[in-house]
């Protein structure tokens, strides 16, 4: 299972991971347009937490036993059998937010325009997610655990 880990000693809470995540999930893939012009406004799937000198980004942990999946009312949130990623099917999601209550990391957020939950999708089409590539301090790493079987 691939997921993004943080080396928290290297994270300075600059928030660029969030910026590039938002850009990656925009229509235009243009920084100015993505932030100022696009509607609906693209939303980041990572957010940075800060408390005095402590900071780190949070994105979906793609848990092996995902509470969000087990709590989903519609079957939208599921675990892909091959990649083991936790994925939300936007067509099925009704935006009931039960998964948000279930996630102990607060890694999920609401898209109030489409009324669907949004989460880290590990940037489909990219080998390395945008947050990892664009971290100026190399504080983020993509790690592929051996699949536990």
């Amino acid at each position: 299972m691939k997921r993004v880990y943080v080396k928290e000693e290297a994270c300075i809470g600059c928030g660029l991971c969030q910026v590039y995540c938002q850009l990656e999930h925009s229509q235009s893939k243009d920084l100015i347009k993505a932030f100022k012009k696009e509607t609906p406004r693209p939303l980041p799937r990572v957010h940075v937490e800060r408390n005095v000198e402590v900071s780190f980004p949070i994105q979906c942990r793609h848990c092996t036993e995902p509470w969000c999946v087990y709590s989903c009312l519609t079957g939208a949130m599921h675990k892909e059998s091959i990649s083991d990623e936790v994925v939300v099917d936007m067509e099925k999601c009704i935006g009931c937010w039960t998964c948000i209550v279930a996630c102990p990391c607060g890694a999920l957020s609401r898209d109030l325009d489409s009324k669907t939950v949004i989460k880290c999708d590990l940037c489909p089409g990219r080998e390395i997610p945008a947050c990892v590539i664009n971290c100026p301090n190399e504080a983020l790493v993509l790690s592929a655990d051996e699949k536990r079987e």
């Binding site: 299972m1 997921r3 880990y5 943080v6 937490e49 800060r50 408390n51 402590v54 900071s55 780190f56 949070i58 942990r61 793609h62 848990c63 092996t64 036993e65 509470w67 087990y70 709590s71 009312l73 519609t74 079957g75 067509e91 099925k92 009704i94 935006g95 009931c96 937010w97 039960t98 948000i100 209550v101 279930a102 996630c103 102990p104 990391c105 607060g106 999920l108 957020s109 609401r110 655990d145 536990r148 079987e149």
Partner: protein, 440 residues
Amino acid sequence: MQTKYLIIGNSAGGIGAAEAIRQVDKESALTIVSEEPYPAYSRPLISKYLAGERTFEEILFRPVNFYEQNNITLLPGKKVTHLELDAQTAWSEDGTQIAWDKLLLAVGGNPIFPKIKGSDKRGVFTFTNLDDAKAVDRFLGSARKAVVIGGGLIGISVTEALVKRGFDVVVVEMKHRILNTILDQRASLMAEEVLKQAGVEIVAGHTVVEINGRETAEGVTLDNGETMTCDLVLVAIGVSPRSELALDTKLEVNRGIVVDRHLATNHPDVYACGDVVEAYDFVYEDNRLIPIWPNAYIGGRIAGFNMAGIPTKYPGGTAMNSLNYFGIDIVSAGMPTAPNNDDYEVMSKQETSTYQKVILKDNFIAGMISVGNIEKSGIIFGLMRDKINVESFKQSLLADNFGLAFFPQALWRERLEAPPGLLLQSVPSIQTGEKTFVGE
């Protein structure tokens, strides 16, 4: 017929169990028998179906090929009426005999139907399954006004569906405020406010004593003698465990079927989960009825592992609801209101359209409510579920920027590590002892 695993009930609990069983035992015969003639669908979504926002295909809980792909025999439209535990056999109404090695009762709840004079009239409905939604839908025709009896989750969800269909709706709630079992006074009032803005009339503190009309409902009479006209009546008081099947057996039944921390009944090969059971509540530290979808699924999952020979302990569940009717987002979990004694500490914060509350007992979270801004509710609920002492950071629980960064370092590090797959790890070492499900 004969099956290794027999699951009675094809909703959240049954599917949770089937998926767990298939994770560890892909071969043995697995049969799901369901009274309903449908593949598993999402019960909470019947209000979306009634509102016309989702078709049946769009409320299916699993892909259409789910049963085939998982080598599950689904017997839809078959009602099991009798169990013989010693012979490990179940009989259905049509005479089918099913022998099983392991049995799961995931039969859910029955809508509570109080004795109200005139409740046998046409135009009086309950609202717990798809057929209810279909029946209401067929009846609507030129109807314009509905009375909903019960201001709980089901009542409010059907109210929203009817409002979306252009109905005038009156909600009659026996207690003094709607959603009183899951919200506190303040959150209830906030919910009431949005309902009223949507044109819903709320009559709290009263009951319906009679449904008026000849053959079809034409109105209701309240306990204060007041009458109101309507074209249909929805009875949405709640559900009670469908424990009938267990009643003529030696299975222990209290208000629901009694299960232990493995979701096992007092019969070694019989398990039960979901709305039909009294299972462990980690807030009240006792067995309780908690008829909510996620607990049914998780309970089913635990039962499934145990049925398949992987000893797995249920960490417990508690009431946990996310409501989003009429455009307001509300989350509640655990106790909605603190018992009136010194053991409990309540922290809350209210702004114009948001409200946050946390109830602590000895520095452990026993209850939470969030209205409006709900995005941190999972972090708080996680602390509650994992029984984490929050003394060192409780002052920040309601801060706007609250998050994992306020946890002690060891705790946020643990959260950022992906939780290990306890089940999968436990497979090679089944004999060495019991494994606990994630979260404990």
